[in-house]
């Protein structure tokens, strides 16, 4: 049983090594059309010197809306569950 674990771990490690060697070099994506468009036109179109912020809040604003909604739902769920515990502890 222990041998099987060791062999599985070794196989997984070899898999990781092979895939890391087979990846394309860092900083050289296969398709650069989108990146070049953002870098060339991002500042003039959105007025933001930070290209990441211009993508997050302008080009891909819908994704940020989803993120904020997820956080809102998480806080609402925590409030819904723990509000009864807080007020219940106070009344007793």
């Amino acid at each position: 049983m222990k041998m099987a674990r060791v062999v599985t771990l070794a196989l997984f490690f070899v898999f990781l090594l092979i895939t890391s060697l087979a990846m394309r070099p860092f900083g050289k994506p296969s398709n650069t059309g989108m990146d070049d468009y953002f870098i060339q036109n991002g500042q003039a179109q959105t007025g933001s010197n930070n290209i990441v912020t211009s993508v997050v809040f302008d080009y891909r604003g819908m994704d940020t809306l989803g993120e904020a909604t997820v956080l809102f739902a998480a806080a609402s769920g925590v409030l819904l569950i723990f509000q009864r515990a807080v007020t219940g502890g106070k009344h007793e």
């Binding site: 003039a44 007025g47 990441v52 809040f57 904020a68 809102f72 515990a85």
Partner: protein, 152 residues
């Protein structure tokens, strides 16, 4: 009952103002430097977490109402800003390059980094900052004050 040491309290008193200023800076300069609403809101929420750890026993009641209201305000402000651009499309940047509020034009290349740029992006940063700050503070408060309430 009061089992937080004096060192922790003094360090908390010292750190309140710098942490608040740093979080506000990260939110307000989101369109110029790394950071933004999410990161700045998380920094401001660590301030609330620190205050809860330090002064939990001094709270008369759980102040979660104000954070609920602030969270809703941030979310509504964000969605309203998205709807205001509906003249052309949802999430259209309707303030940029108009020389008005946040409307200073920016050209390609290295810029001095004026704050008065980027249209609705700073406003959305503020809305998301308020929302993230309130949500994380609310979670920290509810998860910590529950045990504080049970302890007699």
């Amino acid at each position: 009952m009061n089992d937080v040491s004096l060192i922790v309290k003094v360090v908390a008193y010292i750190l309140i103002v710098p942490v608040f200023i740093f979080g506000s800076y990260v939110i307000l300069h989101g369109h110029l430097s790394p950071g933004g609403g999410f990161a700045g809101g998380a920094i401001l929420a660590t301030l609330v977490a620190m205050l809860v750890i330090t002064f939990r026993d001094d709270f008369k009641e759980n102040p979660h109402e104000i954070f609920s209201i602030l969270e809703c305000i941030g979310m509504i402000f964000f969605i309203l800003l998205a709807f205001f651009g509906l003249s052309s499309s949802f999430f259209h940047n309707f303030l940029v390059n108009l020389n008005g509020l946040f409307g200073k034009p920016v050209h390609f290349g290295v810029n001095p980094g004026y704050l008065n740029t980027a249209g609705v992006i700073p406003l959305m940063n503020m809305a998301v900052g308020i929302e993230v700050f309130s949500a994380l503070s609310l979670i920290v408060l509810m998860l910590s004050m529950r045990y504080g309430g049970e302890r007699k």
